[in-house]
């Protein structure tokens, strides 16, 4: 007697998604919906910056020095052409924010991905293999943890620049930032993944997999990894916010993205010089954009942690 005839056809992907617990918990919380919409808007704004931005802040030829330091349009002396005002070179702040969040988000995602891949692999390896492999990896992590991440990012940033001095700074800034921010964040992933792996590897389902002679790498990837990813997702979203802030900090300190292609941090740095002379909008609007972006991403991360854990359902 077969059950094939009784089997229902599986519903489509979208039908299943709208029927899922994740979608349900999403629709239950107004804060999360607001955070998701804000994040989505900033992501879309960043993605389609060239299409929706009123000006191209990177195009030096289109800048008018006469329009520099224009206040926002609702202030006295404001110009509706520049809704949020302009900076000292006449760049439209709104356009600069759209283009700037594009760079900030790109650096954030790339460095989180780099840190996560590095940290998860090393953490899995350390936790599952144990012994000498574990000791070496975790001692390196311990040493790195004694330095603040900003310091590590500054150190790597500086040494990469001096080693590859000949490289065009505008071209290399992005990769140097991703590399240095990523390298300063991997320890957190490695430690979390290692401790979860230590718990999981003694569970009987891992023994059952070892029993049938699966390769350790395969057990790590297909059995242990899915069970240690829960905390990683939370760290990754919080780290996305942190990476964006670190990038902003580095750019603010002047070692990040150069001011010819400003990120949010670079914009805040430029604005900082004019803060006390009354031109508050140059720093305030990029700062607000940064804060809103980081807050929304963090809220989403917390919610995802709860929604994706099958044991909490």
């Amino acid at each position: 007697m077969t059950m094939d005839s009784e089997r229902l056809k599986p519903p489509g992907l979208w039908a299943r998604f709208f029927d899922s617990d994740i979608w349900y918990s999403f629709t239950r919380s107004k804060v999360i919906m607001a955070a998701a919409i804000v994040t989505l808007l900033i992501f879309l704004g960043a993605l389609f910056a060239p299409l929706i931005a009123p000006h191209d802040p990177f195009d030096m030829a289109s800048l008018y020095l006469m329009d520099s330091l224009t206040p926002p349009m609702w202030e006295a002396g404001g110009n509706p052409v520049y809704p949020l005002g302009t900076d000292d070179q006449g760049r439209d702040i709104l356009s600069a924010i759209l283009y700037g969040s594009r760079i900030s988000l790109a650096v954030g995602f790339a460095s989180v991905a780099f840190a996560a891949i590095l940290g998860i692999s090393l953490g899995l390896l350390a936790g599952y293999m144990g012994g000498r492999v574990d000791s070496i990896i975790m001692r390196i992590a311990d040493v790195q943890l004694t330095f603040p991440s900003i310091l590590i990012a500054l150190l790597i940033d500086g040494s990469v620049r001096s080693i590859f001095g000949g490289i065009d700074r505008e071209q290399s800034a992005f990769y140097v930032l991703v590399f240095s921010i990523g390298l300063s964040f991997w320890v957190q992933y490695a430690r979390t993944v290692r401790s979860s792996t230590l718990v999981e590897k003694d569970k009987e389902y891992v023994q059952a997999a070892r029993l049938i002679g699966l390769h350790p790498l395969r057990i790590m990837a297909s059995h242990v990894l899915p069970n240690v990813m829960g905390p990683v997702l939370v760290i990754a979203t919080i780290n996305l916010a942190l990476a964006i802030i670190t990038e902003a900090t580095l750019s603010f300190l002047g070692v990040g993205i150069p001011s010819t292609q400003p990120s949010l941090g670079t914009l805040i740095r430029i604005g900082n010089d004019f803060l006390f002379s009354g031109e508050w909008w140059i720093a305030a609007f990029p700062g607000a954009a940064l804060a809103i972006l980081v807050l929304a991403v963090n809220l989403l991360g917390d919610w995802l942690r709860d929604a994706l854990n099958p044991r909490l359902r």
Binding site: E6, K203, E204, Y205, R210, I212, L214, N227, R311
Partner: protein, 330 residues
């Protein structure tokens, strides 16, 4: 029925329980070892259920893990169908691995919580290439689910959607999926409710009859062992103290330790016979007693028991390791 499927010869396993290297140097301490399994020999015949019983810490689970190759022995060897399991090459090893399986104690830990049940059950049979192609293995998984008393539709669910007894059925289906001859059952019912225990045990017996399986059944529950075992080995502190046919052991236990264990089993008949209460507890295996390790708890112990280690010898149909028995003091 003397066809030996699994032979255990002088099997030993030590665990390093020393402090870290730096502490040892600073505190001037030696390395410390626990002998979890000490010179154990027995054989499991094809088609039988061999039960290992003993208290916590007697080395039951260590023997189970040694046999299926999850840990390596410190000494001795394990022969599976005449082949030494420890020295197997990688090609024959793969072939050998497909012939034995294990059912674990805790059905809440033995199934990967992120995998669907059908993938869990299919993993061994896909690894060993028993069923090629998605349609083939899905069909086989459906059959297996129905064999263990679940519905084929259950394959799409995750383990957390099942009760403990149902999870253990899934674990049994996984153990069966690569068509093994020999299954090590490490306390398969001790995490389950009493009402469910009997169902699982009966299922295992039915499967044994249907597929001609050989079981190594590990338990501390003598009533479960009585229900399942054809032969029983009694472990004490990593050593076998008695090996006998199931019926013989329960009717006529030889070793003082076995007698004490059996006296501790409650029965409803209220026979009124005098029972020997359980005395003391299992000693610390890091610092085991000299001679026969049971002597501090044994009423029959004398100086010889305190200095010499007894070995298994035949007493009637039963093998037992006891000087009191040899000398007729019991």
């Amino acid at each position: 029925m003397t066809d030996v499927l699994v032979g255990i010869e002088n099997l030993s396993r030590d665990f390093d329980v020393s402090k870290p290297w730096l502490n040892r140097v600073l505190e001037n301490e030696e390395k410390k070892y626990v002998t979890a399994v000490n010179d154990v020999s027995f054989e499991i015949r094809r088609g039988e259920t061999f039960a290992l019983v003993g208290e916590s810490g007697s080395g039951k689970s260590t023997i189970a893990k040694l046999i299926v190759g999850l840990i390596r022995p410190t000494g001795g060897q394990i022969l599976f169908d005449g082949t030494n399991v420890a020295t197997r090459g990688s090609a024959s090893m793969r072939q050998l691995r497909s012939r034995f399986q294990m059912i674990f104690q805790d059905p809440f830990a033995s199934l990967n919580p992120r995998w669907r049940v059908k993938d869990i059950i299919a993993e061994p049979l896909r690894t060993f290439g028993v069923a090629e192609g998605r349609a083939a293995w899905e069909k086989r998984v459906d059959e297996l689910l129905e064999t263990v008393g679940l519905s084929a539709k259950d394959g799409a669910k995750y383990p957390h959607e099942f009760s403990g007894g149902q999870r253990q059925r899934v674990a049994i289906a996984r153990a069966l999926s690569a068509q093994p001859e020999f299954i090590v059952c490490d306390e398969p019912t001790s995490a389950l409710d009493v009402s469910v225990q009997a169902q699982i045990l009966n299922l295992m017996r039915d499967l044994q009859d249907e597929f001609g399986l050989t079981y190594l059944f590990i338990s501390h529950d003598l009533s479960v062992v009585r229900h399942m075992a054809s032969r029983i080995g009694v472990l004490y502190l990593g050593r076998l103290v008695e090996v006998a046919e199931g019926k013989t052991l329960f009717r006529d236990p030889k070793h003082p330790y076995t007698k004490m264990l059996l006296d501790a089993v409650p029965d409803l008949e209220m026979t009124g016979r005098k029972r020997q209460p359980v005395e003391g507890e299992i000693p610390n295996p890091i610092d085991p007693p000299s001679g026969c390790t049971y002597h501090p708890r044994c009423r029959l112990a004398n100086d010889r028991c305190r200095s010499e280690v007894p070995v298994l010898k035949l007493h009637g149909d039963t093998k037992a390791a006891c000087f009191a028995l040899e000398e007729g003091r019991s």
